[in-house]
Symmetry: C2
Subunit: 181 residues, 2 copies
Amino acid sequence: MKKTQTWIITCIYLQLLLFNPLVHTQGICRNRVTDDVKDVTKLVANLPKDYMITLKYVPGMDVLPSHCWISEMVEQLSVSLTDLLDKFSNISEGLSNYSIIDKLVKIVDDLVECMEEHSFENVKKSSKSPEPRQFTPEKFFGIFNKSIDAFKDLEIVASTMSECVISSTSSPEKGKTYKHS
Amino acid sequence: MKKTQTWIITCIYLQLLLFNPLVHTQGICRNRVTDDVKDVTKLVANLPKDYMITLKYVPGMDVLPSHCWISEMVEQLSVSLTDLLDKFSNISEGLSNYSIIDKLVKIVDDLVECMEEHSFENVKKSSKSPEPRQFTPEKFFGIFNKSIDAFKDLEIVASTMSECVISSTSSPEKGKTYKHS
């Protein structure tokens, strides 16, 4: 009898959790991130440490809330990863760099699509295209991992202008603004 | 009865073949080359196509007999491969770039040792150190494969001075000489 009661309570809790709107708004693109992101560690170990990967780095990633930079960053990551994929040959055997990068491109493209579907259009991209910079595999995939982590907790927010302005004291990139509509 | 005769004849042929001094002088370092060289194809596919590998290329490889350049070339390959190994991390899983390069370094170091043991000391190295050049993975491992193939057929030869001189008409590297003692 007690067992049945415990089961009913557990079921109610689970249902509350699943249909809670708070859970729904948090991690809106979380389900686009597959377990393939774990292969990043293997990929970094399998790339020459001094190989430089070009990425248009969106400034403010370190100081601004994720909704300010995530949309543009994920687009730039998609461009860089697609370029990187082209540098390798597709060998059928095992876990090749090609196969790992191919899966990462798919995840990133899914995230770009997810961002287009959700209400982040109100955060407009900067009018100036971010400058291309060179990163070692370790640094490049550090940025990749940070973006993926940000997606896991991404919420639909009513953002304010001030949130997406880099303070002149907090960063050397003084007062750069990401326009909002 | 006929079967036994055939077996005896086969055995005699095999013994002749094994103890034939001609076979002994050909491919003197052949046994140092293991099947691991086959992984070069996977390695090339798993390295960025535009990554540049530094190698001090020994001139004359295309035109001179292998005994003129093989000893110095294999030493330079060992240096370049050891440098390359340092660019990767050792991950335990699967066939990583690190594990492949590590095996190739062992083969090349074995070949350097083999060359020191055999009578090729009479082919002295050039007094000038070959200039470092940059090669894509495809070109670098093309030179590696060519050197390995040359080892498979390497004979102990009584070389002559003229053999190791690059003709002024056959190559742009005019009249470069590899000294003999």
